[in-house]
Amino acid sequence: MGRGQRALVAVAAIWLAWAGYAIFIVAPMERTMRELQRIFYIHAASGLVGLIAFFGSFLASVGYLASRQDRWDWLALALVEAGEVFCTVVLVTGPIWARPVWGIWWTWDARLTLTFVLWLLYAGYLMLRRLSEDAARRAMLAAVFNVFAFVDVPLVYFSIRWWRTQHPGPVIAGGPGSGLDPRMWHVFLTVWTGLLLLLLVFVLQRYRVAALEAALEEEELAPMTDRAVREQAS
């Protein structure tokens, strides 16, 4: 890992440590849910970062389709994987929040439902890549699917929201614009920025993995190309 990347990891770690302090010490106590409400910071921030990751991967896939350069494919893959990780955290923290508050593990709350569908969609992306027999076409297929998947997101969002207004249920509280105390808002921004740095770390490393795998493939084929070059020369 280069010096710059190590620095990034260090910055992210320090920032997140500070965010941890902010969550537990700086953030004020919420009136009804008390301490439990602090889950909100990691829950909602992860959700937002996941969405940003998926949007980024959409752009990367468009970049791949436009340029056919492998590095856009690597970037798209890295962003989808990272996005899935953040989605998973949302889906894990949600029930842990819901259980003590409403006595139920799961609720088809708008944000949780949306995250679930997104998780499924992008799991599909990862599965499509894994099951593609045609390595040459794999990047292309994944990119097309990614575009189709992302344009669905607004449709999923609205249909779930209208569905939830039709059949109201428990709402796992708090979200951008839901009237957050300004101190909570500041803590939220801190956590959010920290997670964005974490996203950057994830994406850089995953990108390197993809690039290395490509380099390895070339290296494994190298003896054959060497031989071919030699045979040409003789």
Partner: protein, 50 residues
């Protein structure tokens, strides 16, 4: 602290997921770099001096 265990579980699991993912990435990177180095070294050896 009310709901201490739930808070612990939430943040514990959340961070476990983040760290777990990062660790698998770093391990994978290590293995790949090692493999690449070996292959490149082998190729240097087998390539005749031109």
């Amino acid at each position: 602290m009310k709901n201490f265990w739930s808070l612990l579980a939430a943040y514990g699991l959340g961070w476990a997921i983040f760290f777990g993912y990062l660790l698998t990435l770093l391990k994978r990177l290590g293995r790949l770099e090692e493999k690449l180095r070996r292959l490149q070294a082998a190729r240097q050896v087998s390539r005749p001096e031109s």
